[in-house]
Amino acid sequence: MSETPQRPWALLAELSHGCPLHCPYCSNPLELVRRSAELSTDEWCEVMRQAGEFGVVHTHLSGGEPLLRVDLEQIVAAADAAGIYTQLVTSGVGLTEDRLGSLVDAGLRSVQLSVQHADPARSDRIAGHRAFAAKERAAALIRAAGLPLGVNVVLHRDNLDAVDAIVDLAVAWDAERIELANTQFYGWALRNREALLPSREQLARAGAAIERRRAELAGTIELVWVMPDYFDGVAKPCMGGWGAVSLTVAPDGTVLPCPAASVLPDLDPPNVRDRSLEWIWDSSPAFTRYRGTAWMPEPCRSCPSREIDFGGCRCQAYALTGDAARTDPACALSPDHALVRAAVDAPRDTAAPTTEPLPLAAPGQRARASAASVPYVYRTPAAGRRAP
């Protein structure tokens, strides 16, 4: 691409990969950034300054658990001073009234709270941590502070049957938005695919429930439902196009076109410690590589959908075929689509998941599972547990 690309609108700031939770679908890379390698306060503030100047108007302050950064208030203030809208994406663990108060004073505008299940014990089992009570408290604090609350839930085999109860929970918590996103399988989720992949019937039931609730709740709460690409044969327009809408800054300053892209072996992603955001966005090989449509192979190259889905997800193409430049195998037109079909059609037991809460495993170990469910591989205890 020779012409200058459109400026990015949004920045995903992964402030720390440390997290008290261990969700088996976590979108952090398998190789977590150590806390000692994280950007300093000044470096994050400089990222926000550059981002604002370059056209970014919105940032998700995420992680891991962003509350683990003791300087989160300063980072929020720097983003706000740069004209950037700040939304905190948190597990809720560690969000006290005082902390929230100082974040609001620093300019925080809204919060997205993750929930794993509507049932406390099952939620804690999925998270690999007793966190549900903290989430409930956090939701109340957020609303009491007058901030808009979004509840996000990553859906999979062990919570798809509970979408109705999850919607009830979000309504009870006075959320203005619920995002129910089916698991995308790379990184941790790919490692846990056997445990997380739902059945077609389960998905159809959940989809019908969502339709019903959406009609019921119209005008009161926004209900977002993201279908899993494995099942509908349609590739997702990942990130709205490679290097087209947003960028991700990892805890150590690595800049990526998508948070999952750290898995691509020869991407050679740039770092804010070495380069300006402007150069990174406009000129770095990592960002120009799959921008637009010129890089595409067949069948994407001559496909009428190429400007709509941009050939799907590069990380999924790499994860399943070993070549990031191939058509996303989730697409029914991909020559590799059989890989996805084989996973989806493999027979598996999808009776309602275990009813009794399972004992929590120590991080990094497999949770002990009952006969009906496949054990999760939890992420290792984030290096963030160690002193920063």
Binding site: E53, S110, N152, R177, N182
Partner: protein, 112 residues
Amino acid sequence: MSRTPGASTRTDARPAPAAGPAVTTAVDPAWRPALSPGIMLRRDRVREADLLVLPERVVVLTGRAADIVRLCDGRREVAAIVGELADRFPGAPVPDEVPAFLARLREQGWLR
């Protein structure tokens, strides 16, 4: 982070065109519209545009939309907003279009 990178929010910040004038909806002239909590109105100097930034979305305000929204400070009543705009833009169909536009934004949840 807890959202999968495949979630719909990856197109969060894609701008959507602002609502055009709507069919007239009854609007109480004593309503004092204000932006809903967590919504920010700002000038984007890079794109030379006026934006409403929401928790998960950015809306580009076109035409006179930003001039209208800027007056929604929770103190001015609709009647006053209409009066001010009518003075500022003589000849524009302000009394017809502005209340309907405000009603549309309220329906979206952006004004209260």
